[in-house]
Symmetry: C4
Subunit: 206 residues, 4 copies
Amino acid sequence: MQPINVNMGKGRIEAFSDGVIAIIITIMVLEMKVPGHGHFQLVDLKDMWPVFISYVMSFVYVGIYWNNHHHMFHAVKSINGTVLWANLYLLFWLSVVPFVSAWMGENSFAAVWPVVMYGFVLLMNSIAYFILVKVLIKHEGKKSPLATAVGNDKKGKISTLLYVVGIACAWISTYLSFAFYVLVALMWLIPDRRIEKKLATDQSVN
Amino acid sequence: MQPINVNMGKGRIEAFSDGVIAIIITIMVLEMKVPGHGHFQLVDLKDMWPVFISYVMSFVYVGIYWNNHHHMFHAVKSINGTVLWANLYLLFWLSVVPFVSAWMGENSFAAVWPVVMYGFVLLMNSIAYFILVKVLIKHEGKKSPLATAVGNDKKGKISTLLYVVGIACAWISTYLSFAFYVLVALMWLIPDRRIEKKLATDQSVN
Amino acid sequence: MQPINVNMGKGRIEAFSDGVIAIIITIMVLEMKVPGHGHFQLVDLKDMWPVFISYVMSFVYVGIYWNNHHHMFHAVKSINGTVLWANLYLLFWLSVVPFVSAWMGENSFAAVWPVVMYGFVLLMNSIAYFILVKVLIKHEGKKSPLATAVGNDKKGKISTLLYVVGIACAWISTYLSFAFYVLVALMWLIPDRRIEKKLATDQSVN
Amino acid sequence: MQPINVNMGKGRIEAFSDGVIAIIITIMVLEMKVPGHGHFQLVDLKDMWPVFISYVMSFVYVGIYWNNHHHMFHAVKSINGTVLWANLYLLFWLSVVPFVSAWMGENSFAAVWPVVMYGFVLLMNSIAYFILVKVLIKHEGKKSPLATAVGNDKKGKISTLLYVVGIACAWISTYLSFAFYVLVALMWLIPDRRIEKKLATDQSVN
C-alpha cells in the first residue's frame, strides 16, 4: 500500500480522537458498580478499593495518552489517509483499557493473568503510539519540527522495555508488575518535554 | 418536499457526526463483559474470543465509515437541510451496529440469523451512505470536485452486491458470510482514493 | 436575576450541545438488550419490535431537536449566561428521553402511564425549546434575523397543543396518543423553514 | 517539576473538557433504571423519586462546573502542560459524581455515608477547580484579565466552607447536609459575575 500524500487539515482527527478518548476515560467509571440498596455503610465501599485504584491508574494512563497526543498533534501541520488509520489503531488499543482495567481491579491485582493482560494492552498502546509517531514523521518529513523534537525517542523505548519487564514479573509478584506500570506512568506524567522544548526554542528564535 | 438550498457551514455536522461515531465505536467495548470475580485465568477469556473478533470487525467497519465520511466532507463546501437528514439516516444505521455485532459475537458466528442481521445492517449502512453521497452531489452540483471524484461509484456498487451475496451465503455457511464481510472491509480499508486523487490533482494544478 | 449581557462566542455552547445530544441519541441503542446466548432465531427479535420502534421514534425526535438547534444557532450571533442555562434546561429534558422511551417500548405502547410520561417529556422539551428561543431573542433583539425568522412561532404552539391532546388520549387509546406523537414528529421533520427562508432572503438581498 | 511555559491554543482542551463533561452529565441518566416489564403504573416510578432528585441535583452541579469552566476559559489566552494536568484532575473528580450520586439516590438521602461521600466529592471538585484557577493565573500573569476578575475568590472559599459544614451535618441529619449542597448550587447557579463583569468593563472601555 502506497502512502497517500494528500494533505488534510488536522482539525477533525483531533476532534474525533478527543471524542473517543473522552468516552474511554469516562465510561471506565461505570465499572464502579454502586453497592445495592441497603448497603450504605463506609465498609460497603471497602471492596471497591481495588476497582477504584484500577480506575485512577487507567484514568491517568488514558490522560497521559491524551496529553501526549495533544502535544504531538500541536507540532503536526497536516495529515493523510495513513495517519487516519494509524490513529484509529491507537484508539482501538486505548478502547480496550477499560476492559482489562475492570478485570484487574475485580481481582484485586492479586491474579496473574489480569495483571499480565493489563500490561499487554499498555504495551500494545505504546507500540501503536510508536507507529503513529513514525507515520506522522514520514508524512511531515525528517527535518520537520516534529521529527527533530521526537529525536531518538529514548523515553518511548524505555517504556516499552519496562512494560515487558513488568509483565514478566507478574509470575513472581503481581504487585511488582503493578509497580512497574506505576513507574512508567510517573515517567510520562511530565508532558513530552522534547516537543515542548523544541517548540519553545522555535518560538524564542522567531 | 422541496430541497432547501440555504447554504450552511459544514463544521457542526462534522462535529456532531464525529461525536456520534466516536460514541458508537467506543460503547461496543462495553459488550465485552468482564469475567466475574474469581475468574482470573486466561481460559476465562477463551469464551470471549468471538465477542472480541466481532468487536474488532465492527470497530474496523465503523472506522471505515468515519474515514470515508471525513474524506467526503473534506471535498464538500456547504450543506443544507436535506443533507442533515441524510446524514442522520446514516448515523441511525451505524448506531445499530453495536447491537447486531454483540448478537453475532455472542453466538460465536455459528447461528444463521445473527450473521444475516449483521450483514443486513451493513447493507443498510451502505445504502444510507449512497443516499448521502447523492444528496451531497445534488447540493454541490454535478461539476463539483465531489461529483467528479465519486464518478460512477463502482466500489460502492460492488460492496452492496457483496453484502447481498454474503447474506445469502449464511444458509450455506455462516463463516462464508463472514468471509464476505471481511472482504468488503479490506476493500475499503484503503481510504477513498477517488476523492483523494481528484483533490491531489486539483492541488497540483493550482 | 438580571440577565448578563456580556457577549460570548457561540462555538462552545454548540460543541457542548452537540456532545450531549450525540450521547443521548446513541446511548438509547443500549436499551436494545441483545437476546442471551442460545437465542439466535429471528423469532427472538420479535419481542424487541416495540423497543425498536420506540428507539426509532426517539432517535427521530432527538434528531429533530438537533436539527432545529443547529438551524437556530446558525442565525444566532452571540450568547450570554442566561442562554447557557436555558440551553442546559433543554438538554436536561432531552436527557430524560432515553428513560421514558425505554419504559414505553418495554410495555409495548400498551400501558397508559409510560405513554403519558413519554408525551409529558416531549411536552417539557417543547417548552424548554420555547424558553430557549425567547431568551435568545431577548439577547439578540426584536429586530434580529432570528426574531423575524421565528415570527409568531405557530408551529411550536401547535406542537405543544398536540402533545397535550396526545397525552389526554392515552386514557382512550395509547395507540391514538402514539399517533399524535408521530404527527408532531412528521410536522417537524422538515427543517425549520421560517429561519431558512429568512436567511435565504437575506443572502439573496446581500 | 518546573512549569512548562510553552503557549498552546486553548481550543483542544476546551473540546476535550466539553466531551468529558457532556458524557458525565449524560451517563448519569443511565442510573435511572427502567421499571421491569409489567411495571407500568405511575406508582412504579415512586421508588425512583430519590434517584431522580439526585440526578437533577448532579445535573445542575455538573452544569455549573461546565458553565464556570466556559466562563473561565473564555478569559484565558493560552495554556501549558501544567494546565492540562490541573484540568484533567478536575475532570477526574467530576467523573466520580455519577457514582456518588447514584449511591446517595439509591439510599433515598437517608443514609449517612452516601451523603457524606457525595459532599466529599463536591469538596474535592471545588478544590480541583481552585487549583485549576491558581495554575491558570500563574500562567496568565497576576495582571491578566483572568486574575483581576477572579480577585480574592470569596465565593469559592465560602463554597468550600459550606461543603465541610454540610458533610459534618450528615451525622445530625442527612437532609440538613442536602440543604447545604442545594444552597451552594443556588449560589453558583448565577454564572461567575466577577469574570463577566470584568470582561464587560473591558469591552465597554475598548
